[in-house]
Amino acid sequence: MGYPHPSHPKETVVLSEYFGDADARTYAGWVKRGGYEALRTALAMEPQAVIDTVKAAGLRGRGGAGFPAGVKWDFMPKQKSKAHYLCCNADESEPGTFKDREIMRWTPHALIEGCAIAAHAIRAETVFIYIRGEFTEPIRVMQAALDEAYKEGVLGKSAMGTGVPIDIYIHRGAGAYICGEETALMNSIEGKRGNPRIRPPFPAAYGVFGMPTTINNVETLTSALHIIKRGSDWYKGLSLSNPKSTGTKLMSVCGNVVRPGNYEITMGFPMKELIYDLCGGVHDGRTLKAVIPGGSSVPVLTKEEAEACLMDYEGVVEAGSMLGSGGMIVFDDSADMVYQMMRIAKFYAHESCAQCTQCREGTAWTVRILEKILSGKGEMGDLDLLLDVGEQMTGKTICVLADSCAAPVGSAIKKFPEEFEAYIKGARSPAGVFA
């Protein structure tokens, strides 16, 4: 549901059913709502059967990459020779994305349940939920739920009395976007700088503490619980169009819309309806200008592209961007695309871990060129330079942070060249602090 707004009839409410329902936060409340049935079912299944069910459901990673979750679980060694770990990625830091926060705030036991199911599937005894440091409230809520789950015997040496040991701990981040990258997250758990690691080795072979590890996003793990509960056919059947994108997706919609919030839609839902019907469109007197559909790291869509876009992994790619984490930033005609691209670039420059040359230097350089344009000192050549610098930042580094800076900026230059040119040609006065 579009928390903090009431559910819209066009939503398909699965994960967000209890958003805003404080009673669902407690163990008793969760059980009353059918909670922990899925975990009980899963624990009675062979781990491989759990994996196969999730695989059959076609659940894809909700953190941004969209990799099939069941396939990822299947990479884990079947013969357990050392400790296995599950890391739940709750570092939700991609500008525009705020769905995992609501899952944790309102349905902490759903996440615990999802984690425990996945832990059983991959034979992990220990789960770390890595929550970004700024999420003080979700951390409090999750910790209270964990304490309850231990007290009720859901977790511990014998999860739900089945003899399967499952421990779940919260590991609090401390202010670093890049820790949402899975290998950086593992380094951060290990007490290191959150530097992404070079791959191979992949986490399933050599993950956190050098042990086989799977990392899944909060929404992915929570979705798994519903798949176990209601079956893979049901989940697959939720897709409106594309068999490769199944189930529901929480879309965080923010920016210049009347009702920003988290909307749960089935894969294949039209973006136009999401913006205009569910979110109430842009404010009176304004018109839609652009949408960044998958968190700030993906290319910008124009109004036309956005309105024609179907929201699933393939559909958004077809429209010229990516579904990413499902964080939609909506810009109306009051938005200054040049200034906002500078803000996005500044974000990435601030968050670059400093390892790779292209990222460390390229993100900062991108900011400077954009600031130069904003201050009215830009030259036409700066636009080509930005695109070229962006190309040098794409596909050449350990992780995709540099790419994430280049993609929105490059797309904005291509799709809204007149806004950049207006600054360069003096048709627009220097903006904000650059005036």
Partner: protein, 529 residues
């Protein structure tokens, strides 16, 4: 040992077979192709961060880093024949120069700077970074010990951090901050004075970490580089002596995986100072009416031969564990007919100071380079015994030996004293003949390290005055005494040694090559070969 599995790939069209698991970068070296790189160093764990070594591999859509990618059988890898890889490297170079000052004219690294070299080789002629932006600026920081950190020049390759963490096992450096604000930080209450810390200066690919000792002393292009062996201890680290004119200005490690990998200790780095000492013997001296007077070599050698010939019975050879095998051998052979006491002094200082992360590498407590060679050539380490024997000897030959503890009276009593050395100690002023010899930087020769590895060192600078290598002096003396073939160079002296001493059997300068070879006895004892 099991056969190593080989994989064959091609690099810029050059086919090469390498052991399975070899990185693209190392395989390319085998093919004679240098993949430009900064963060990679064969002696350190792979970081994969500079992104300079991006190469194109057929069948893989994205460029891959050569340092962390293992070659696979049948792969076609393109380094210099790939436009995309070259463009990516150009990009990295441009990015690195954004914040790097163009202060090459005052930078010690200029001329041996990997940033300068690669930019010159394949970078862009000019930057597109607008001059209106300020470059990052941080003041120079004294890291303590011998090391200065110039953050403005730092390209954050992290070699220094990895060296201190993994090789030295003393994590006192870090990467601090993030993004383009990052720099190399140091422990707030410590100095970079680890006994092996000097390696970070060598490892730094740019002029960001500098040696205070070498600061502004010379430009890299003025230096001549000569392979040598460190005389600081018995480890036998392979080194290069960098000389400008007639002075050695620094000692730096030369890779030898069997001995020192890529490193040397800070004590070893200071040894160049001894090589430049001013108070040298520059002319042969003979005693005439109570005074030592300078003469020519013919005169001096004739006098020395006369003394040796005239003596019989007990002789003492006061050797040096810093003398070459060639000299030690010839001196020993010259005195074969005597009732001989031959010994060297092996000074011991404290405990070994290991480089923790590298097996079998330490600054050894035995602070001489050739104790093992001297032992193999029949010199005892009962140096005190030899000194005591001086008083009752009929002939004393001092081969650059340490005479501390010998009284002038004892030498006086011995009477027939011949000194071959680089300096004339006061106590040896009673010698009959003094023959000036060269030091390690001024001659060719070999040492045997503590593990029995025989290693060559080469002449790096001219000798002062009339000083000659000890092997030459002893060869000439041998001629005077018994004829035979003259010894024209150190290689011939070594050949003679190898023919005569079983432990050296089969060895020659050719066989020693640049990496050395292990003594027969040492091999038998299970020492690494």
């Amino acid at each position: 040992m099991a056969e190593q599995q080989l994989v064959t790939c091609s690099i810029d069209g050059i086919e090469v077979s390498v052991p399975k698991g070899t990185s693209v970068l190392e395989a390319a070296k085998q093919a004679g192709v240098l993949v430009p790189h900064y963060c990679y160093h064969p002696g350190l764990p792979v970081a994969g961060v500079c992104r300079m070594c991006l190469v194109e591999i057929e069948g893989i859509p994205k460029l891959q880093i050569g340092c962390a990618t293992q070659v696979a059988d049948g792969q076609a890898i393109r380094v210099n024949t790939s436009d995309e890889a070259q463009r990516a490297r150009k990009g990295v170079l441009e990015f690195l120069l954004i914040n790097h000052p163009l202060d090459c004219p005052i930078c010690d690294q200029a001329g041996e700077c990997e940033l300068q070299n690669y930019v010159f080789q394949e970078g862009q002629a000019s930057t597109r970074y607008s001059p209106t932006y300020a470059k990052r600026f941080d003041p120079v920081e004294d890291f303590g010990g011998d090391i200065l950190y110039v953050p403005n020049r730092c390209i954050l390759c992290t070699r220094c951090v990895r060296f201190m963490e993994h090789a030295a096992d003393d994590t006192i450096l870090n990467v601090s901050e993030r993004g383009d604000r990052a720099f190399i930080g140091i422990h707030p209450d410590r100095e970079l004075d680890h006994p092996w810390a000097g390696n970070v200066v060598d490892l730094c690919p740019v002029g960001s970490l500098l040696s205070k000792d070498f600061l502004h002393k010379a430009r890299a292009w003025e230096l001549d580089r000569t392979p040598s062996v460190c005389v600081g201890c018995a480890q036998g680290c392979n080194v290069n002596l960098d000389t400008r004119g007639h002075a050695v200005v620094r000692v730096r490690p030369r890779p030898n995986l069997e001995v020192n990998q890529y490193f040397m200790c800070d004590h070893g780095r200071t040894t160049y100072r001894l090589m430049n000492h001013g108070d040298r013997l520059e002319a042969p001296l003979v005693r005439e009416t109570g005074e030592l007077v300078a003469v020519d070599w013919d005169h001096a050698l004739a006098r020395a031969a006369q003394i040796v010939k005239g003596a019989t019975g007990k002789a003492v050879l006061v050797g040096s564990a810093s003398a070459s095998n060639e000299a030690l051998f010839l001196a020993r052979r010259m005195l074969d007919g005597f009732e001989l006491t031959a010994a060297v002094h092996v000074p011991s200082v404290g405990d070994d100071v290991p480089l923790a992360g590298v097996p079998d590498l330490a600054l050894r407590s035995e602070r001489v380079p050739n104790a093992r060679g001297a032992a193999a050539l029949g010199y005892s380490d009962d140096f005190d015994g030899a000194l005591r024997a001086v008083a009752g000897a009929n002939l004393v030959v001092v081969l650059d030996g340490d005479l501390d503890g010998v009284t002038p009276e004892a030498l006086e009593q011995a009477g027939n004293v011949i000194l071959i050395g680089t300096v004339l100690p006061d106590v040896a002023r009673v010698a009959r003949v003094v023959l000036p010899s060269t030091n390690v930087a001024e001659e060719d020769g070999t040492f045997v390290n503590r593990d029995g590895r025989v290693q060559r060192y080469l002449q790096a600078k001219p000798s002062p005055g009339m000083a000659r290598p000890a092997w030459w002096i002893l060869g000439e003396l041998g001629m005077e005494l018994g004829g035979g073939e003259p010894i024209g160079n150190a290689e011939e002296a070594f050949a003679e040694l190898a023919r005569s001493v079983a432990a050296f059997d089969g060895l020659s300068y050719g066989k020693l090559g640049v990496g050395g070879a292990v003594l027969a006895a040492a091999t038998a004892a299970g020492v690494r070969s």
